[in-house]
Amino acid sequence: MTVETIVFVILAVLFVGSAIMVITRRSPVLAVLYLILNFFSLAGLYLTLQAQFIAVIQILVYAGAIMVLFLFVIMLLNLRDEERLTEKISVRKMIGVGLSAAVLLQVLYVLGFSGSDLPVRDVARAEELGSVESIGKALFTDFLFPFEVTSIVLIVAIVGAVILAKKKLD
């Protein structure tokens, strides 16, 4: 086992484990914290793929901004009673879990049977790609237009959020 494999296994276990914790916690606050852990492990996985920029952004935007927003909302709503929301096991949920498991099995089945002609990773190339320089170049040249459009998306989202969260529409 190389160091790399060990690191990957640790991160993968963290990733799956925290994900399971997210969907099983009764308290939303706990779920948020596990989700942050999940995002950190994901950032680590990005690093094993030499995607440094994405890894940093993952922590800054997701773990930093979005999750804080979640926590803020949970605190704001003051969901004390909601914490005791008991989860009932129903036929519908069983079916949902069963179907999900079936889909996962199918995907894993496909992956297990795919051939040996897989692309081989060129670490140096990947390192070059994942750099801020390379991503920045791509964003401001080939993807300039979609990049600018995201600004409109964000503006609309802000306006929409403000309108929705207002007490009364007038």
């Binding site: 519908r92 079916i95 179907l99 889909v103 995907v107």
Partner: protein, 658 residues
Amino acid sequence: MLTTLVPLIVLFPLAGFLFLGLLGTRIKNETVLGLIGSGTVGLSFLSAAWIFLSMLAWDAVDRSFSVELFPWIASFTGTPSSFSSSFAYRIDQLSILMTLVVTGVGFLIHVYSIGYMQGDRGFWRFFSYMNLFIVAMLNLVLADNFLLMFLGWEGVGLCSYLLIGFWYTRKFDVGGYKPGTAFTNDAAKKAFVVNRIGDVGFLLAMFLMFDRFGSLNFDSVFGAASVLSPGNVTVFWIALLLFVGATGKSAQIPLYVWLPDAMAGPTPVSALIHAATMVTAGIYMVARCSVLYALAPDVLTIVAIIGAATAVFAGTMGLVQNDIKKILAYSTVSQLGYMFLAMGVAAFGAGIFHLMTHAFFKALLFLGSGAVIHAMHEEQDIQKMGGLKGAMPVTFWTFLIGALAISGIPPLSGFFSKDEILWKAFSSDYGSPILWFVGAGGAALTALYMFRLVTLTFEGESRYDTRALHPHEAPKTMTVPLIILAVFSVIGGFVGIPESLLGSNALEHWLEPVFRPANAKLALHPHDPELIEYVLMAVSVSLAAAGITAGRTLYLKRKDLVEQLQALFVRTYKVLWNKYYVDEVYDAVFVRPTVRLSESLLWRGFDVGVIDGLVNGSAAVTAKLGQWLRRIQTGVAQVYATVFLGGILLVLTWLLFR
């Protein structure tokens, strides 16, 4: 030059109709409206007269030509079932004569209407309808094919409907022992529906023509028909079905019932549409299709019998009516019967001749009656008139001329045309003494009821409240047309003085080229003047004179005799007064069963049961299905997500294991 003039004949009144119909309501000045309404018809008359005068100078072969305005319908061109019809007008001796009558008499009646309709709320509407009627009527007479003719045929029917019901808020007396009144709209609907029955005949005839001859053009149809042998079953049915159409439009037995009720319309309408022009459309159509009738001698016999029967039948009903316009209406039906009698004995020229003279004197009589009604403040019952001679001399004298003309007193126009018909009914290869006898009897009846009308209206004591009512002569716009029409009623017959009276029978010679193919098929034997012709002439004139004398004596001096006669023939009188109960019979045999059938079977059974059942049933099924299917929509997003997941699984499975 002349070919551009032809469409103008129709376009002038069309422009008048459009102008009055679209802008008439904004123009408040009746003089302007009346000038536009009658002026356009006058211009149309001038155009037709110009063409006529030019035609006089041409050779007979050049006098017939058609002008195509534009291709109208062209379908399946190049295939065996191709059908094409163009918007084409035909000018020939017959159509130009009809055009002159329609526009000439029409113009005079339009002028008269300016006075008659004065102050009416619908003044502009009246003139726009009248102009539309002239357009449709000209389309009918000028058409170069049956389809265009049918367009005019339906157009005049529409205008007739609109104008009978013109005073849609008024009521009128349906006559008989039913003093109950009906709305003018009912009369309009009756006219429309009865005409529609005839139109079905016309339509079927057209279908048959198209099926057998592949065209509706006059020349093609007549050409294709003339190779067939006389008595051919196809031609028989075409001719018979066309005649069914003619009985509807020209108010013959059995479809005459609408015309007396049509008198609910304004009097100029009765004069123009229900006396002078529209009702003669059937005569014109038979004359136009003379070739077809020549090939179907059996139909000719039917036409003659129907015509003669109508002439007498309507005359007897006219004898006892008290409504001034109703009497004239029955007289019109009767005179149209004469025209059909002429058609039936293959005297096409004589029929058209009577059509023309009848247009003059019947229009005159109707307009005169309109003047009387006007003076009597909408009173139409002749029993409540009398002694109007002094108050309205112009109306009286012109009316008298009209009455003498229709009675057939020489040398007025009616004498020549009626005598021509009677002589042909007697002498023609298709005529018979019986037809002559019936016709002559009808002529005596005509004289009798006309002079009953004249005497009761204009002579004797005044039977109205002389303190409340002061009848006065009609205005100039009304009397001048009366005088002109009176002049034509006198001299109109001179174009057709027969050879036996040392005339030249100019009209018959003028029309001869049109009827030549038919006459050739019929192989008629020309008759030289014979003694019997003079004898018959003398008999019919003396019958008319006897009728006149009887009418004057009975209703002026010997009123007691009238009452005695009424008492003696009380049952006959009752039957006549109730118009032979024909309306009642039709009501019981056709109208009520139809209404009952429609109500019980078609409405309650088919419409409510089947149609509504299907509609409501499918709605109910959909609703039930929806009730059931909407359970799928739980509103819980997670259920949708689960179903979504199932879909993904299915797609993946299919991709993996296909």
